[in-house]
């Protein structure tokens, strides 16, 4: 009888161990936050919304249930953390300003990778109500969805250094940063062409001048930063060459044919924009482009980046986009 009870004891003890240790761990996990990452098609982030008080550390344990993902918080200066399937990553976040932050995936995991987002609500006293500044395109009253086509385009790719070599006296108005932000390259070309001082220049020369003016409004660092952002976030759809032929372009183009039929949200995806198309790009102002980046494409498949990029980052991207139209040096 003793032997029987001994045997029962062995079994009970063993079972108790293998049940209680994971159970204790599971309980411990529930005390913290374990973020499960999945492709957007199969659930995205779980939990999707977090809350934390300003100044308090937010400990997150992250794991992926399918493929490699990454985690970063928009407009927060914190390096992204990779999340590997079946493994745990740790991150601790501290917020100094209250508000609503967006966290997002930083590893291309599927065509809907950019939809993998969640929010962190940071509570705390707001010192003084800062009125939110509306984006430039709104202040300018631009309709960024309207069709736009340049009436004429250069025969050759305009080059900023050729424009610089021309050594012309360009009126100050055209060189100002405000002018750059709110006017299209075509506007500038038309304006420059009609300047009496520049009358003897050829059409192509004026384009080179316009390219030179455009480049003067950016810095090499800005363009470089823009390039890095483009490669990490945009090239998958728009292509590394900017021609709208990235790896996911085919899947997005599927929706184009059914614009009339599919009125449901998100099924009107279109081919990504072609930044090498002069007709479209030269008739768009930096404000216009920035607006598209911030707001997104309203169901066309273009993500809205306003919550992710800082304003400087969006202008850096715009600065990089011009390199598809003008020969602007991009340093490695």
């Amino acid at each position: 009888m003793i032997k029987e009870w001994l045997a029962r004891g062995v079994i009970i003890l063993g079972l108790a161990m293998v049940i209680s240790i994971p159970a204790a761990n599971l309980w411990q996990q529930s005390q913290g936050i374990v973020m499960h990452a999945r492709m957007a098609e199969t659930g995205g982030w779980t939990p999707e919304n977090l809350t934390i008080a300003v100044g308090k550390p937010l400990h997150l344990r992250l794991t992926s249930d399918d493929v490699t993902h990454g985690f970063a918080v928009g407009q927060l200066d914190q390096p992204a953390v990779d999340i590997n399937p079946g493994e745990m990553s740790d991150i601790t976040l501290v917020f100094s300003k209250p508000g609503k932050y967006t966290f997002y995936c930083t590893r291309w995991c599927s065509v809907n990778h950019w939809r993998m987002r969640g929010t962190i609500e940071v509570t705390g006293p707001i010192d003084k109500a800062e009125p939110a500044k509306s984006p430039l395109y709104v202040r300018l009253g631009l309709n960024i969805d309207a069709d736009h086509k340049a009436s004429l385009t250069p025969l050759q790719l305009p080059s900023a250094w050729r424009g610089a070599l021309l050594n012309q006296n360009i009126p100050e108005t055209y060189k100002s940063h405000d002018y750059y932000l709110s006017h299209t390259p075509l506007d500038l070309w038309l304006a420059l062409s009609s300047e009496p001082v520049l009358k003897k220049l050829s059409d192509q020369d004026v384009w080179d001048l316009a390219a030179w003016v455009w480049q003067s409004n950016t810095t090499p660092e800005e363009v470089q930063a823009g390039k890095q952002l483009f490669t990490a976030n945009c090239a998958a759809c728009h292509g590394e060459s900017g021609a709208g032929n990235g790896v996911f372009a085919d899947q997005l183009a599927v929706g184009s044919g059914n614009k009339a039929l599919n009125q449901t949200m998100g099924e009107q995806t279109q081919c990504p924009a072609n930044f090498t198309d002069a007709l479209r790009m030269l008739s768009a102002s930096p404000a216009h482009l920035q607006g598209k980046i911030i707001r997104g494409g309203m169901g066309t498949g273009m993500p809205s980046w306003g919550a992710i990029f800082t304003e400087d980052q969006t202008w850096a991207l715009v600065a990089y986009l011009w390199t598809f139209q003008f020969q602007i040096e991009v340093y490695p």
């Binding site: 029987e4 029962r8 161990m17 761990n25």
Partner: protein, 475 residues
């Protein structure tokens, strides 16, 4: 003690013993009675070593269930997936079956709670106490259900083998079924008639080198009590055992026999094969063919380079999957049985055998067993061996929760078997062909006809099958 005849090809084992009372009572030609070895006998007679092994497997099984249901959804980082489908499967195919026959059944955790409930105790082997103790319906006897079970596994294998939750639910369902059946039916009904693993383990046990048999039949004839039969949880009567397919090697009969008349024998490979033609059953034939067909299918899906095939096996419910399921079932239910029957029929015509085709097909199935065993070993080498390094990873972090039990850091290296694996598989399948050929020859010899050419059709079947397997595994 008899010296073990080392040759693999000695299959004419004389199981008849010498007269009782003589000093040669315990010597049987070509058998080594392991129960005579003192330390081994002590380990088998005592209930504790076996109990502790069972405790380990049961506790491990419960842990596996926990990991499957609550751990990471990523298959190769989950203890359940790796330990069940890689580690345990490898030890089963490369260890338990080829060396011990149905030996896994001796320590399998799934029927244990049912057994204990039946007995009303854990350690001692009591008589049946709880449950309805009904006889298993005669119409459901045999290994048909087990074949069906294995085919079912094959249809859903792509998902079961990769999704921890599915593995968890399947194991839990089997567990519940085994316990439930123990409370309704007598003996180990689940193990004998439902469990697919038991099905093919038992079948291949006929070729394996371990058996439990009676030593001296005269002693049994004079023994009234039949304590061995009452002790056997499988409901077997050791004296009447024709082959090892139904015996779970639990050693209860050895412990129970008051005359010490039972032996755990080491025997030559294939001892139960090639015997009298009437000793085979159609259900075993079907199971043997199912195992062969499944080995082909699994090799194609899991080890093959065809992404579309893997995808169609994975997306259950989709049209490609229906096509895969149809193909899989057609291979196992139609194509292979038809091909094999055709080969046997050709043999029948050539050798002018008068026996009915059904009986001949059933008996010739014995020749399929060595081939099947070798094919599954070869498949396991391709499929599981390179993944064995994952075992370290899941021992370190079973749930994918970031544990570091073994303090192991880089656990993602893969075992490179590309050097020796193809050669090993060729050797294994060659052994399979030769051994199966040997059995077939023996079968035809026992029928009186000693004609090599007449066996050609069946041998061609073996050859074609082996070439197919080799092409899938290493070609």
């Amino acid at each position: 003690m008899t010296r073990l005849q080392e040759s693999l090809w000695v299959e004419e084992a004389a199981t008849k013993s010498t007269l009782s009372g003589s000093s040669e009572r315990y010597t049987i030609p070509s058998r080594v009675n392991l129960y005579r070895i003192p330390w081994l006998r002590a380990m088998l007679e005592s209930r504790w070593p076996q109990f502790l092994a069972r405790a380990v497997t049961l506790i491990g099984f419960v842990f596996t269930l926990a990991a499957a249901l609550f751990g990471s959804r990523v298959g190769n980082h989950n203890f359940a997936i790796i330990m069940v489908w890689i580690a345990w499967w490898t030890t089963l195919k490369l260890g338990f079956i080829p060396f011990g026959g149905r030996s896994w059944c001796s320590i399998c955790p799934i029927p244990l709670p049912g057994d204990w409930l039946q007995q009303g105790g854990i350690l001692d082997k009591g008589s049946h106490k709880n449950g309805f103790n009904l006889r298993w319906p005669k119409s459901l006897r045999g290994s048909w259900l087990q074949s069906g079970g294995f085919l079912l596994i094959g249809l859903f294998s792509a998902v079961t083998l990769t999704d921890p939750q599915v593995t968890g639910w399947v194991l839990l369902a089997l567990f519940a079924l085994a316990v439930g059946m123990s409370l309704v039916f007598e003996h180990r009904a689940f193990c004998s008639y439902i469990c697919p693993i038991g099905g093919f383990s038992g079948m291949y046990a006929k070729a394996a080198p371990m058996e439990v048999r009676v030593v001296d039949k005269e002693i049994c004839a004079n023994h009234r009590d039949k304590s061995c039969y009452h002790a056997c949880p499988w409901g077997l009567y050791p004296l009447a055992m024709k082959d090892s397919s139904a015996c779970g090697l639990c050693m209860e009969c050895l412990r129970a026999c008051p005359k010490d008349n039972l032996a755990l024998n080491l025997r030559p490979y294939g001892s139960d094969l090639g015997g009298h033609i009437s000793s085979s059953r159609l259900d075993e034939t079907f199971l043997a063919l199912t195992m062969l067909g499944s080995a082909l299918a699994f090799s194609a899906v899991f080890v093959g380079p065809w992404g579309w095939l893997k995808l169609s096996a994975f997306e259950i419910g989709s049209q490609p999957w229906v096509a895969y399921a149809t193909g899989f079932l057609a291979l196992n239910l139609l194509f292979l049985p038809a091909l094999f029957s055709l080969c046997v029929w050709s043999w029948k015509k050539i050798s002018q055998n008068r026996l009915p085709l059904k009986r001949l097909v059933a008996s010739h199935a014995q020749g399929l067993l060595p081939l099947g065993l070798m094919s599954w070993i070869a498949f396991t080498i391709s499929f599981a061996l390179p993944k064995l390094t994952l075992v370290l990873g899941v021992l370190n972090d079973p749930f994918g929760w970031g544990w570091h039990i073994l303090n192991a850091t880089n656990t993602s290296r893969s075992l490179d078997v590309s050097g020796f694996s193809p050669l090993l598989q060729v050797i294994l399948l060659m052994i399979g062909i030769f051994w199966s050929t040997r059995v077939t020859m023996k079968l035809s010899k026992s029928d009186g006809k000693h004609n090599f050419p007449s066996n050609m059709p069946v041998l061609v079947f073996y050859l074609v099958y082996s070439i197919g397997m080799l092409w899938l595994l290493i070609g």
